[in-house]
């Protein structure tokens, strides 16, 4: 038992953090709702009530998975690139611009559009990567700023050059049907983007844990000096990891346009880049875990929508809960005492069984 706890300590801590978050939300619902049982049911079970809501969970998860994996590529190399938001936005804008101004047979169209978006994203990621590698410019600040540059450039591109003036609101022209990612489950909007997201999760998992580049990224992340002395080209790794971030986020941004909206509809930055940071943290930067973390986050989101539709509890509860979960999951020292105590006990200082919880 103790051995298991030590081995899976991180997983356990994540589980405890999530449990605390869920318990807190139950308590809050009981305090504020006039019909707490009903509201609670809407929040926790609502997302599973029918095909549409289950579909919602999966649709919502798709862009979050992309951004989560994207962010993880940089975080694995200890590059705090939070620029998935910007890469997502500008790649979707450039991809849309390309999509509405070209005509091709469907498959070819889809492939070239996604390629263009991915390249846009990768180039976008190159900027903070290069500035960090070459000039030591903090990628946190530069990506935050570049998010705004991407946002305004994207808006400029769509609103001034590809705007559908007949639409009545600020959106781009509609994509031709040849550029659509099909929605393949009746009654939902689940589209090929989710399949591509899962494929990306598998590819990046393989890349990170079974290739030389992945090893180099992870080594740079855990100890840059060690990596450098070990002959790894840290300069290259810093740039490549951030280009991958841009590439994946950009690709994800375009799938969202092609699968759900079929035109560029964002006048505000949609925030998936920040969601990506959350799931990368919950999933410990591991692509497969990130998929589950994204599903969990979008489950909470859909639960929030159900609260909004059915109950008197504001859905912003979800924002509060996810903040608390992030804080607890990333608090390195949270429950560390428990771990240490178990480790000491295991080492033979005490043979008492049972686990005490630290407050």
């Amino acid at each position: 038992m103790e051995k298991l706890i030590l081995r899976y300590f991180n997983l356990l801590r994540t589980a405890i953090a999530i449990t605390i978050g869920v318990i807190l939300s139950i308590i809050i619902i009981y305090i504020v709702s006039r019909e707490p049982t009903f509201s609670l049911k809407a929040f926790l079970l609502g997302p599973f009530q029918n095909t549409t809501t289950i579909g919602n969970i999966i649709e919502t998860a798709s862009p979050i998975i992309f951004c989560g994996i994207a962010i993880a590529m940089s975080f694995q190399a200890m590059q705090f690139n939070i620029g998935a938001e910007g890469a997502f936005f500008i790649s979707a804008a450039v991809g849309t611009a390309f999509a509405v101004s070209t005509q091709m047979p469907s498959f070819l169209h889809i492939v070239t559009i996604l390629l263009i978006s991915a390249i846009t994203g990768a180039l976008w990621g190159y900027i903070p990567g290069f500035l960090k590698a070459k000039f030591m410019a903090s990628e946190i600040v530069s990506t935050l700023m570049l998010n705004y540059v991407a946002y305004y450039s994207g808006l400029y591109l769509i609103n001034y050059h590809f705007r559908d003036k007949k639409a009545g609101f600020m959106v781009s022209h509609r994509l031709a049907e040849s550029a659509w990612l099909r929605q393949f489950i009746a009654g939902t909007r689940i589209h090929w983007g989710i399949i591509l997201a899962l494929a990306f999760a598998l590819i990046t998992y393989y890349l990170l844990y079974h290739t030389t580049l992945g090893y180099e990224i992870r080594t740079t992340g855990s100890n840059q000096n060690f990596a450098r002395f070990g002959g790894i080209n840290v300069f290259k790794v810093i740039i490549i990891s951030q280009m991958l971030t841009g590439l994946i986020a950009g690709f994800g941004g375009m799938t969202e346009v092609m699968g759900i909206h079929r035109r560029f509809t964002w006048q505000l930055s949609p925030g998936y880049g920040w969601d990506g940071v959350i799931v990368a943290l919950i999933g410990k930067n591991h692509p497969i875990y990130i998929v589950f973390a994204s599903l969990f986050l979008s489950y909470l989101r859909v639960g929030g929508q159900q609260l909004k539709l059915l109950s008197d509890v504001p859905p912003e509860l979800v924002l509060v809960i996810q903040a608390i979960i992030i804080l607890l999951i990333t608090a390195e020292a949270f429950l560390r005492n428990v771990k240490n105590r178990i480790a000491i006990r295991k080492a033979g200082y005490s043979k008492e069984a049972g686990i005490e919880h630290d407050s």
Binding site: F135, I140, A323, I326
Partner: protein, 310 residues
């Protein structure tokens, strides 16, 4: 076009710049003091929101401006303390902690707004107070300058004063010296007996203090209500402004003024068929360039290395 030019070269435009700059300046000082201690606070967005909300609520229910001020500032400082606690004692990364704080602030303010007012958008159904505008006796008689600089909200003047406070704090007080020492080289600071954690806590509390005023001004001066996510990215713009000014008092003021001017300018030209989006992105691009040049010079040893931002 000529009418636009006319209005831009009128004193009113200067007045608007100061008005728009005020919340940015408070937030920038909040970023600056934290960055100087080596832990940059990207949670100003959240701090401002919570303070704005607290100020509006307290003023609406107590009808006291003083209580609203105290509560708003206390809320900001409390958030700084929460971030400090998680970062320094529970070892959460300060960037992640601040991101979580921003989510938390956005959620909790809308959540409570709804519970108190039944409205999820704004608090306009409440009769909350605003800080007074003051006309400065002699200044308001001077032709152009008077129209630019007089008649502002009292917090705008406090914002300008805060630059001086910040200057005195970091250059003339033992705490300021320690904040800079910790930021530049924590090991060296530790070796001369400075408690690095304590200094960082103070810096984050100060960060919350300055940020709080930015929030209070937004909801009780700039406008007279609280609305959801009303900070609208100002906490992030502040990072740019402060970085642009390398976290030094006067230069941070100039950085804030630059961003203030650009957003004032884009308000003015938004009626024209000029792509304001492109104009709005310029200061961010400039910040990236300045950051790069500055970091590059530090990197190549031309100027002494302050501890890297994170």
């Amino acid at each position: 076009m000529s009418t636009i030019l006319e209005s831009i070269f009128s004193p009113d435009f200067g007045f608007v710049i100061l008005r728009v700059t005020t919340p940015l300046l408070f937030a920038s000082l909040g970023v600056a003091v934290s960055a100087l201690s080596g832990t940059i606070n990207i949670g100003l967005e959240g701090i401002m929101l919570v303070s704005a909300f607290t100020g509006v609520m307290v003023s609406a229910f107590t009808r006291s401006l003083l209580l609203a001020l105290i509560a708003g500032v206390a809320a900001g400082v409390l958030l700084g303390m929460i971030l400090a606690y998680f970062h320094l004692y529970l070892k959460t990364d300060v960037i992640i902690g601040a991101i979580a704080l921003n989510f938390f602030a956005s959620g909790i303010t809308i959540f409570l707004l709804f519970l108190f007012t039944g409205d999820k958008g704004t608090s306009s159904s409440l009769r909350s107070l605003v800080f007074p505008e003051i006309s400065i006796p002699i200044l308001n008689k001077i032709p152009i300058l008077g129209r630019i600089a007089s008649g502002h909200n009292v917090l705008t003047y406090f914002a300008l004063l805060s630059v001086l406070i910040y200057f005195i704090l970091i250059y003339k007080t033992p705490l300021g010296l320690r904040i800079r020492a910790v930021g530049q080289n924590p090991e060296a600071a530790e070796s001369v007996g400075i408690n690095v954690n304590h200094i960082k806590i103070y810096a984050l509390l100060l960060s919350g203090f300055f940020g709080a005023f930015g929030g209070l001004y937004l909801a009780m001066g700039y406008v007279s209500w609280f609305s959801r996510d009303m900070t609208a990215g100002r906490g992030f713009i502040a990072i740019a402004a402060s970085t642009l000014g390398s976290h030094m008092p006067l230069r941070t003021l100039l950085g804030s003024l630059l961003f203030g001017s650009v957003s004032a300018f884009s308000i003015y030209i938004s009626s024209l068929e000029v792509p304001s989006d492109l104009i709005q992105l310029i200061p961010y691009a400039v910040t990236v360039i300045v950051l790069t040049i500055y970091s590059g010079r530090v990197f190549s040893g031309k100027i002494k290395k302050p501890k890297e931002l994170i």
